[in-house]
Amino acid sequence: MQTETRPWHAIVLEVFKANGIRLIPYVPDNVLKPLIAACHADPFFTAFPTAREEEAVGIVCGAWMAGMRGLCLMQTSGFATLPNALASLPCAFQIPALVMVSERGTLGEFNMGQAMVCRTMRPILDSLGMEHHTVSRLDECEFIVDRTIRQAFMTQSPAALILSPLLTGGKAAVRG
């Protein structure tokens, strides 16, 4: 098997393009910084910040219903603000809203708030019946991200991709 040499964010960016995902609303996160910067640098994408993660979900839902594919970027604590929006919009209306979450609160977290809220993420996704996968290895990154996105669009179902610190290095890796 060929060894993956690209960094995770380069793989993710190419998968977005291959799947026609152009619209990237986000609430920023330090770990997502290189991905956000790469989306801004590439004219293929319309990337911009929102004030809240809920807005980003509303925007990608509206865009998809009008023929444009999008994905929301956020961190764990931002995901925790979403249950009502996800349940009553993409889940109820069968809209493939995609969220990519940089996982904070585990594997070396220093912020107790992040550590607490992290525990709510997968139970929320499970109770919403939302497909979710955690990407923890570089050699699995393309497959998991691509297949999750494709299935979401083909089945008109929202889905979440969680980027583990095992993949990204987490916050500690970008600090200092």
């Binding site: 929102t50 004030a51 509303g58 865009a63 219903m65 023929g67 009553s88």
Partner: protein
Amino acid sequence: MNTAPTTAHNAKRLPRAGVAKRLVARIGDGPAVIGGIGNANFDLWAAGHRARNFYMLGSMGLAIPIGLGVALAQPDRRVFVLEGDGSLLMQLGCLSTVAARAPRNLSILLLDNGVFQITGSQPTPAEQSGTDLIAVARGCGLARAAWTADEAEFDRLIDLCLAEDGPHVVGLKLDDSPPERQTERDPPQLRDRFMRGMGAKRDRTLG
């Protein structure tokens, strides 16, 4: 002619049933209309079905973000959002997001009755504090935000939304009458109809 700008204080309280009807009669078939949670989309439903209507049944506060997404996806089509004052209050940050993107084709109609009407007409904190939501919109960078004095000015402002680049915000003070009907609660069907109306599902025919 009185040229002073209409303020929240001197805007006429319009009968709510007439507003959505007046809007859809004025804009024709082309524009998309997003109805926010509760009475905003009930009004739109009661005004008669249009192929390019989307009725938001939950996710309070997200009608404007949905409208922004639609506007970004189809920049050549006019997009109107009907949103209540309580809903906007829940997601005020979206006004800055809209101003930052500055979609020329997006118009927001703020249906302001000062109360959470659907839950028993409790006053909103904005009403209690005297918050002027159109002034808030201007403060967020939406320069084309104005209160509506009366029906004639409403027509004029809608014509402006159709003719001139936005984003626009049109503030309407509403009376306390209830909506005439309630939207049929079938989210996937509402979504599917809207997508076909928007040409986002061209390749499949209805069964």
